[in-house]
Structures are given as C-alpha cells and as structure tokens.
C-alpha cells in the first residue's frame, strides 16, 4: 500500500519555542512540523512598507532546533517512566541524606509514592510548620497556561502552605537593579517596551549598536528563529550593525558589519568614553537633556573627570577595555551623527554584561547614552530587534505569568476580574528565599541579603529590603519540593546545590520531573511527569504577560489548544494530575480543583474568559487547534517611547499596574516612572537609599570587577576570563543532557571517545600557549569546581577570554558530588561561576565575572 500521511492523525501543540503540528500513527508520534499559517481562515500576513521596501510576515513558525527535535526528547531514554524511591531512603527508618546524588533508585507504585509524599508533607507541617517546606518550579519544563509551574504548582502549594523559593529577573539582572533607577519601568522589571519599534526601525534607523546582545541566540525569550527575518530586512534597508561583545556572537557572524571586543567587565569604561567624546565635541542632544532628563551635570562631572580627577577619555577606556581609542571615537561620532538604536542585551535584557559584577552600572550607562541622543526620537530607540511587530494588544489571551489556575503572583492580574479561577490562591507563609542563596539558607541559616521577597515588579524601592532567613519564629527548611530540575546547570557555583541536597538538615526531598536529570538524582522520591505532548493544555506562543505584559517577540500571536497527541509514556502523569491526587490525600481536593473534573474543564474555562469566543467557536477551536490573532493594521503605530519624546501622555498598550510612580497622573504629562518622571542621570531613588553607596552610586560609575581583568591576585592562578551567556542550542538546561539530536550540533556538544562533551571556545593564541588543539579535551577549573569540555579553537573569542555557554544539563560528577575538586564530565560551567552577587546591595547573579585556568586533559587523568 502506498505510504500516505493522510493515514495519520494530526494534532496541534505549543512549546516554549514555537507551535507545532504533530503527526501520529499507531499511537506513536511520526513527525513534528513547525506550524504553518496557510489555512484558508488563518489571519492574512501583515506587511510593513518603509524606505521603498515591503516586509511581509512569514507564513510559518520559526521554531527552535530543540522543538524540531521534540520527538527524540519525548521518546528519550532519559524519560522517567515510573515513580522512584531512593534505595536507601526509608521514611520510617534510615534516611541516609548523605547518599543523595550517589544512591540508586527503585520503582514504586504511584500509590506508594503519593502516600510517602503526602505523609511526609503532613509530618513536616505538624512538626515544624508549613514554612519548613521549600518549594519551587523550573522555567520552563513545559508550556501551557494550566500545567505551568505558575499555575498548578502555585495553586497547590499556596493551598498547602510553604516557603516559596523566589524566581528573580536573573536573565536581565542589570535592567532590574540598574536601569529601573534611570528610566523606571519597574513593573516590567526594568526592561523597556518594544511596541511598534519594528516599523520605526525599518523606517528611521541608520545604525544599531548590539552591545552584549545576540538576538540570534536569545531571540526575545521564546520566539527563537522568528526575528532573523527582521534583521535581514534591516540589512537590506542599509542599516549598519555594530557588535560589542568579547565573543563574535551568532548574530554578528551572519549580520555584523563591525565587531568590537572589549575585555569582559570593562564595558562601562567604553560607554563613559563615548559620553566623553559627545560632551567634548558637543554632539549630544542638549535640548532633550534639558527637557527630558535630570542630573546631567553630575554625570558630566564624573565623565569629564571633575569628580574624581580622571577624565574618561577614549585613551583611558582603551587601557581598561583593550579597545583602541580611535575606534571608540569613530563609533561615538557615527552614533551621534546617525539615527542610532541601541540593542543593550538580548530582549533588551540578557547578555552577559548585565549578569556580571556591577552589571547594573552598565545597564544604567546604556540608558543614559540613549538619553544623550534623544531616546524615543524616530529611529533612536532602545531595542534589541526582538519584538515590536504589529500585534493587536486589545485582544485578551493570558500568558503564563498571569498565573493560570493559581490566581497569579507575577504582575497584572487580568484573569481574576474575568472570573478565573473562582477563588484565587495566595501564599500563606510570608517567609521566602532568594533561590540564588538557597544552599546558604538551608545549610547555615541565618542568612541575609538585600533584595526582594516575592514578586519583583511592585516598585523600585522594594529592592532595598534587607531580607533575612529564617523569619523570626519560622522554621528552617526541612523539606524541598522541586518541580523540574535546573538549579545544577543554571544557578551559580552549583556545587553548593549538590552540598545542600546532601545536607542531613534536609529530611525529605521530592523531585517532580520529566527526565532523569542531574537534580532529580538528589531526591528521595521522584514523580515522573509527562511532556505537554501527552496531555491537554492551552497557551499562546511566547506569551508571558505579568512582568512582561503585552510583549511578543514573534511575527504572529498564535493561541494554541495544546492537543494531547499520545498517551503519557509509561506511568508518567501531568503535573496537574499529580497535584490533584496529592490534594485529595491532603483533604484539599475540592479546593484545588474547584470542582473541575479534569484539565480540559479548566482549559475550556480559560477559553471562555479570554477573547477567543468572540472570534472562534469552542467546537472549531477544538478541531483546528489554533487561532492567529490578526493585528489591527489601520491603527496608528505608537512606538515605545515616542510619547515620552513628544511629551505626550503615555500611549503604549502597557501601563504600570501599581501606584509606585504613576505615569498616568491626572495632569496628563508624559512621565516615566522615575521619581522625577524623567530619565535620571543621577538617580533620585538611589540617592535617597544611600548617596554614599560606592558600589551603586546615584550616578553610574566604572567599577573594576571583583573578578576580572584588574583582579591581580586571582589572575595569578586563574589567568583567563570566562564568559558564559545564555546558551544557543538549549533553553536553560531543558534540552541538554537527555540524549537529544542537538547533542550532534558541534557548537553544543562534541563526541570524543564515545562521550558528548560541552564546548569551550578558546582563542588560537591562548590555545597555542596551552598546547590545546581543536577537539582536545580541556580541564577548566578554579577554586569552585572542575569541568571537562571539548575545545573549539576560534578567532571568534578575544584573546585572554574563554567562552562556554551556561546551563548545561549534563552534570556528571566523577567522584563525590558537591566537592569542588570533583571533576564534572558533563560540562556544568556554572560550577565555576561565583555565587557573589552583582554588588553588595543587589542580590542578583553575576556569572559574567569569572576567572579560570585551563589545561589539556587526557582521559584517565585525575
């Protein structure tokens, strides 16, 4: 019989990097395709005509390679197929916590596993109180508004009670701890809006400076290969692309016109020299400075050297950064002359610089440079080319940060007023932990940091809170419940986490996850979860909402009824169902489900409270599986900060929900959410907090890194700077270490002697010095850990710096876990990064500041 795909069933699903069409035959997935928008009733493509060229929206989703490889991930041999118990864990006898990470596991039944977990939860609550249970989820082990961690996990644990382990803006630390104090946007965690900037750039921009920005890699979070079309079109329009990054990054090698490579940690020096050149040559927007900003005189005083006797000349910056003074001057002049947009970081966030020591100083300096050139002027924007396509933001469909069935904790609560859920849940326990210092809180409390409890987007001032663990009278942590598994991989100095899990203080550890990944191996009980291809859900591609309200880096808003394609593999279950079963055992079944018999009932309810019923019937949505929300092309574009430039009331679709510093005061004047309503060269908030804070002064300063090119002592043993940005071929650790097809991409892992090693990039001059050749195995180490990698010798990394991506998911200790001298064969680069925060008052991670030593490594060596 002739083969035909017409004999197969087709389903639609959505992932964290794009919507897909899934073909199934005999209950098995045959193939997975990026979704095409070519059906008769799909929204017609929008187009933008500018400078005589027309850009037309592509007609299919630009998914990521790991999504294209989902079939291998679904059928991965590393899937967990039964509940597991650590062999030497006995809840009624010896628990052997010291063997976590080493001992094997035995399969148990769901009934046994649920009973142990329910009993332990009750026991710990009875003995110590609910604050003894620390809970967190991972970003993002699945996609879909019902099953996501902010939904099911939060609802369940809000009802049970726990100490939440807080997620923080750790992908864009500098924006949060820095830029907020220059331009506000606290409700967007310091990141700027990008509304309608695609068209504005097409029409008006002459040059884009990508500073620590690799949109081809970070893409704008979840859009993946959606935005390259735009940059190719920009190149066609003659827009010049300049890249500033120690690594000639993936965008630069296809789109770049110029690569400038400062030493890591010296970017602020370069920025100051650019400002110096503009001031000296009078090539900044003085009228704008007068009308739109405050405190320029203080900045000028620092830049010109009146404050500290050191003019920040290009020659001074050359000494710091290694970038030739004449190149800095040439860039400054062109920047002032042409309509220049700054892409500071990935989604105007991300990028290794803002995740480095004093990354907040860089983020503020970036805003201030744009402040000197009339930010908001046509073509003069802060825009990473990863958002701002035409979209209808009047159309409501929630994103994951709206909180699904939990009621939401992360920003605008748009679902609640629509009656979803009937009863919102909220945390009952005030004690919380910053995840970056979870090991310290667990192992050696009390522990303090200056930062935030709970949701980060409420005000600029909340980040000044002196946080302590434990709260007076609350319990220390006795139990950890983890959904998904990525701390060992994504957090800093991750041997700390291995030590934490093996600490006898932790009486019970649960991991609820899809894969037998490194962190699961530290649990006492493991619940096996199915992927979102094996259950129902509903979600919009790349839709965050909450702290990134109405942001989409995609070409189209695609809402997907995520159809169950196959039965859950083995005995795995959806996260939601696991919580429902536990809730029943804990006597809160009805409270958890609100009477919904299953996920589909919640999904239909979410459909009903969204704007979907206005445009597509439930029956049709069920059958078709998706809906593309057409943009209103007759609506006049409102580019992100044009209102501010024009001094009109704010007109973008996203306004702050909190009353911290309202931008919409009755006087109707254009106001940013800074105290003065203007761009603040001298931050009023920081001045009020501590005018003498030498690590984050009111005016941003160049402060040499505590672990960088000027760290003479550390350099003696560890002479190379390591940068480890967001990875190109996995999203966090989700798509690594699971026997996947991206393992065969030579930028990601390399097969050497039968093992797939993580890749480190080394400059040829350094490689020659160390006698390292292409595909040699390399030992990379410092006092915090030892990691094996495969060498890629390339001019793409500046001499003296090595580059290896963060977030490997393959932690594979060749000895006792958690010991800093134990070799990790799996490439967990974050073993090496420091757990020191950005600066003393900013509890954000700083992996970009890391010194290491390397050596060629031979198999068998210790």
């Amino acid at each position: 019989m002739k083969y035909s795909t017409k004999d197969e069933q087709q389903y639609v699903n959505c992932t964290l990097s794009g919507p897909v069409r899934v073909f199934v035959k005999d209950k098995k997935i045959v193939r997975i395709l990026p979704l095409e928008y070519t059906q008769e009733d799909d929204a017609k493509p929008w187009s933008i005509t500018a400078r005589g060229e027309t850009f037309v929206r592509p007609n299919k989703a630009g998914i990521a390679c790991w999504v294209q490889g989902s079939k291998q991930q679904i059928y991965s041999k590393d899937r967990l197929l039964t509940p597991l118990k650590r062999v030497d864990f006995d809840p009624n006898g010896e628990r052997n916590p010291q063997n976590r990470g080493v001992s094997g596991y035995e399969p148990i039944t769901w009934d046994e596993a649920l009973t142990i977990v329910a009993n332990e939860t009750e026991r710990v609550k009875d003995q110590y109180g609910p604050s003894a249970i620390a809970v967190t989820g991972s970003s993002h082990d699945s996609w879909g508004n019902i099953g996501y961690r902010m939904s099911a996990l939060e609802r369940f644990w809000n009802l049970v009670g726990c100490t939440w382990i807080d997620h923080d803006p750790d992908s864009w630390q500098g924006s949060y701890w820095g830029a907020i104090h220059s331009w506000g946007f606290h409700w967007r965690l310091g990141q700027p809006p990008a509304f309608d900037l695609l068209g504005d750039t097409f029409e008006h921009t002459d040059m884009i400076v990508f500073w620590s920005s690799d949109p081809n890699t970070t893409s704008g979070d979840y859009a993946w290969n959606e935005t390259d079309h735009w940059r190719f079109h920009m190149k066609k329009l003659g827009i010049k692309f300049v890249f500033i990054d120690p690594h000639c990054n993936y965008t630069s090698v296809i789109d770049g016109d110029k690569w400038i490579k400062p030493k890591p940690g010296t970017d602020v020096a370069m920025a100051l020299a650019i400002a110096y050149t503009w001031i000296k040559e009078g090539t900044y927007d003085k009228e704008y400075i007068a009308s739109h900003t405050v405190g320029f005189d203080k900045w000028e005083s620092y830049v010109m050297g009146n404050e500290d006797g050191q003019p920040k000349t290009p020659e001074w910056a050359e000494q710091k950064s290694g970038v030739e003074a004449n190149v800095i001057v040439a860039l400054a002049r062109e920047w002032a002359k042409k309509r220049t947009t700054l892409a500071g970081g990935g989604r105007s966030g991300m990028g290794h610089v803002m995740r480095s020591s004093y990354g907040h100083e860089w983020s503020r300096a970036m805003v201030l440079l744009m402040g000197m050139q009339g930010l908001g002027k046509p073509g003069v924007n802060y825009y990473s080319t990863t958002g701002g396509a035409p979209a209808d933001w009047d159309f409501f469909f929630p994103g994951y940060a709206d909180g699904g069935i939990s009621g939401g904790s992360a920003g605008p609560k748009d679902l609640g007023p629509r009656g979803f859920p009937k009863r919102a849940t909220a945390s009952q326990i005030r004690q919380r932990i910053n995840r970056a210092c979870l090991p310290e809180c667990v192992i050696k409390p009390p522990y303090t940091w200056r930062g935030v409890y709970g949701y980060y987007g409420q005000s600029a001032q909340q980040q000044f809170t002196e946080c302590t663990f434990p709260f007076p009278g609350y319990s220390e942590i006795k139990m950890i419940y983890r959904q998904g598994a990525s701390y060992i991989g994504t957090m800093m100095e991750t041997n700390r986490f291995a030590r934490m899990y093996r600490d006898p203080k932790l009486e019970f550890v649960v991991n609820q996850t899809i894969y037998n990944e490194p962190e699961a191996k530290f649990a006492d009980i493991i619940f096996p979860v199915c992927t979102n291809f094996e259950r129902w859900d509903i979600g919009e591609w790349a839709k965050i909402s909450g702290y990134s309200n109405k942001l989409s880096p995609t070409n189209a808003r695609v809402v997907v009824l995520q159809q169950q394609c196959i039965q859950p593999r083995g005995q795995s279950k959806p996260d939601y169902q696991i919580y429902a079963l536990l809730a029943e055992r804990l006597g809160i079944g009805e409270q958890f489900t609100e009477g919904h018999p299953d996920e589909m009932s919640w999904i239909k309810r979410m459909y009903e409270v969204s704007d979907l019923p206005k445009v597509i019937s439930w029956e049709k949505f069920q059958k078709k599986g998706y809906y593309i929300i057409p943009p209103k092309m007759d609506k006049k574009p409102a580019p992100a900060l044009r209102w501010f430039y024009d001094q009109r009331p704010i007109d973008i679709p996203d306004k702050p929900m909190s009353s911290d510093r309202p931008t919409n005061r009755p006087d109707g004047l254009a106001r940013l959410s800074t105290p003065t309503g203007k761009i603040e060269f001298e931050s009023q908030t920081l001045k009020q907090f501590d005018p003498n804070d030498d690590e984050r002064p009111p005016v941003p300063h160049y402060i040499p890194s505590w672990e960088g090119s000027e760290s003479t002592e550390i350099l003696k043993n560890y002479p190379l700077q390591l940068i480890s940005p967001h990875p190109r071929f996995t999203f966090h650790s989700q798509h690594d270490g699971k026997t996947l097809w991206n393992d065969e991409i030579p930028h990601h892992r390399r097969l050497i002697n039968g093992y797939r090693y993580w890749v480190i990039r080394i400059n040829p001059a350094d490689a020659a010095q160390y006698g390292i050749k292409e595909n040699d195995l390399v030992k990379v180490w410092n006092d915090r850990g030892v990691v094996l990698c495969a060498a890629n010798i390339t001019e793409r990394i500046r001499q003296g710096t090595v580059h290896s991506y963060s977030s490997g998911g393959g932690y594979d200790p060749q000895g006792e876990p958690g010991v800093n001298t134990t070799i990790d064969k799996g490439g967990t680069i974050n073993q090496l990064t420091s757990s020191r925060f950005l600066s003393k008052n900013c509890a954000g991670m700083a992996p970009g500041s890391c010194l290491v030593q390397i050596a060629k490594w031979t198999e068998g060596e210790v």
């Binding site: 299919k60 294209q68 079939k71 290969n225 110029k258 690569w259 040439a330 097809w741 991206n742 793409r796």
Partner: protein, 278 residues
C-alpha cells in the same frame, strides 16, 4: 514528469540546524519502504551542515553555513558503483538507495565524493537522503528540511517548470554547484558560497584616526575596476575579490592619493592599516 532539484540561499541561512534535526525527525524511528530504511537515531546526517568560518579581518568574522543534503547528482558515482541496481535515479531525478538491494554493499559509502552516504553498521546498509521521496510521492511540496527552515532558504521543486519557486529563484540568482570539480552534475544549487575576500582599514596619519569616506579602487588582473568606500571606522572590503596581480588605490579629498600593486593569492586578504597623509 517533474525533475526535482533544490536550491539553497546561504545568504539567508542563520545556522539554526533545524534542517539537520528535521531530517532526523522524519527518518529516525520511521521506515518508508521502498525508498528508505529507518535512520539510526545518532551518527547519520542525511543532511549535514558544513561551516566555513572566514576571518575577514580582526573585526569582522563571517560564518557561512552550508546545508548538505545528497546532491542527487545527474551523473551519480554511487549509482555507478552499486551492484544489482541498488542505487538508481528515478525519472524525477531523485537518487534512491534501495534498502534491500544495497544491504551489505558497504563500499558504497566511499563512492560519494560529498560524503553523503552513511553506513548503518547494524544492518550493513548504506543510507542517505531521499529528498523525502515518500512525501513528494504523497503530494508534499517540499522535503522536511526545507519545510522546517525558518528562513525558507531552501527551494525545492521542478526545475523544468518555469513557474516553480525553484525555477524562479534560479532565474533571479547566480547559483552554483558545491564542488563542481567533482564533475557529478549535482542537482543541489547554492547561492552565497564563501568567496575570496579583501579588506583593510584606512587611517589618517596624524593621530591615526579612522578615515571615513575614502574611495578605494581595486583594479583586477583583467583591468576591471571596483570601488568601495570606507565606513566610519575606516574599514572597507571587497566581497568576491579577484585573484592575481591587482592594483589598489586610496583617495580622500585633501590627502595624497596612494596606490600600490597587490597580489591576491589567498582566500582571505587583510591589508591591515593603510595610512593617508596630506
């Protein structure tokens, strides 16, 4: 009868590797007799990606990603090397390894100069790209690699139909074969293969400042002149630079014109800093 071919626009390739992975998605765990046996989960690349990293100069590195499916050669060496007609060219131009007849013919792996044939060790079977013939026969417009490409940079179709996408693309672009020296008449065409490159950066002698707007004229061995203008950094470049004995001249108003002979004998030439004096 259609004649199928593929054209790949490397200028639009972003190196996402979706094509390589999509091929595995289609052929791993699936067999499509009689045109394809199951592809092993790892180690075979019916579409592989060859990368060329050209360091044009210290501030400009260009990577070209070259997706390499089977070239479905018009004069396929593998077909000639195969016994019992184990490899044959269909009327529509697609070259197929018969999974039954080819079993045991391990030597066929070496017959392909492009390295596009892989050995299935377990079955002793040579295997390769089929242009997803089972899908083409089912009425699909393109193989999986092309469908998965987010940039739609792979054009597949009937080269004898002037209205087909591929025919229009080939008519509008200067396409070429990859390794034409193999002489196998490949049916995969490329636009944007790496070319020789010439660049330099011009400075003003006083202060060594970057010299913008300098007119750089390159006279090729054949006497043909090409010009470039330096940008704000003083940088200029000539893509697809000629080879051989050339003359290069730098002109900027107010400065003495400089001219010198250069011999372009390497793929990449970076002239370094050129100083202009008044």
């Amino acid at each position: 009868m259609a004649k199928y071919a593929m054209a790949i626009d490397l200028n639009k390739c972003i190196g996402c590797y979706n094509c390589q992975v999509a091929c595995k998605d289609e052929h791993v765990y699936n067999a499509f007799p009689p045109v394809a046996a199951e592809q092993p989960a790892f180690g075979q690349f019916w579409l592989s990606i060859e990368e060329r990293e050209q360091v044009w100069n210290p501030s400009h590195i260009k990577v070209t990603y070259i997706p390499k499916p089977c070239q479905h050669c018009g004069d396929a060496p593998c077909a000639k090397a195969a016994k019992n007609g184990a490899i044959y060219k269909r009327e529509d131009g697609i070259v197929i390894i018969d999974p039954e007849k080819a079993a045991g013919q391990k030597d066929l792996v070496a017959s392909c100069p492009y390295g596009s044939i892989y050995l299935n060790e377990e079955k002793g079977l040579p295997q390769k790209c089929t242009f997803c013939a089972h899908l083409v026969d089912d009425g699909w417009q393109e193989p999986r690699c092309a469908q998965s490409c987010p940039m739609s940079c792979m054009y597949f179709g009937d080269v004898e139909d002037p209205e087909s996408k591929i025919s229009k693309f080939l008519a509008a672009n200067q396409a070429e074969a990859f390794h034409p020296e193999y002489g196998t008449k490949p049916n995969v065409y490329y636009v944007g293969l790496p070319k020789p490159h010439l660049s330099g950066t011009v400075r003003l002698a006083e202060g060594n400042e970057c010299a913008a707007d300098v007119t750089v004229t390159l006279t090729g061995p054949d006497g043909a002149k090409r010009t470039a203008t330096t940008d704000c950094f003083g940088d200029f470049d000539f893509k697809n630079a000629p080879r051989g004995a050339c003359q290069i001249a730098y002109e900027l108003a107010g400065y003495a014109t400089q001219s010198s002979p250069i011999v372009l004998d390497k793929e990449i030439t970076f002239l370094g800093e050129i100083q202009l004096s008044r």
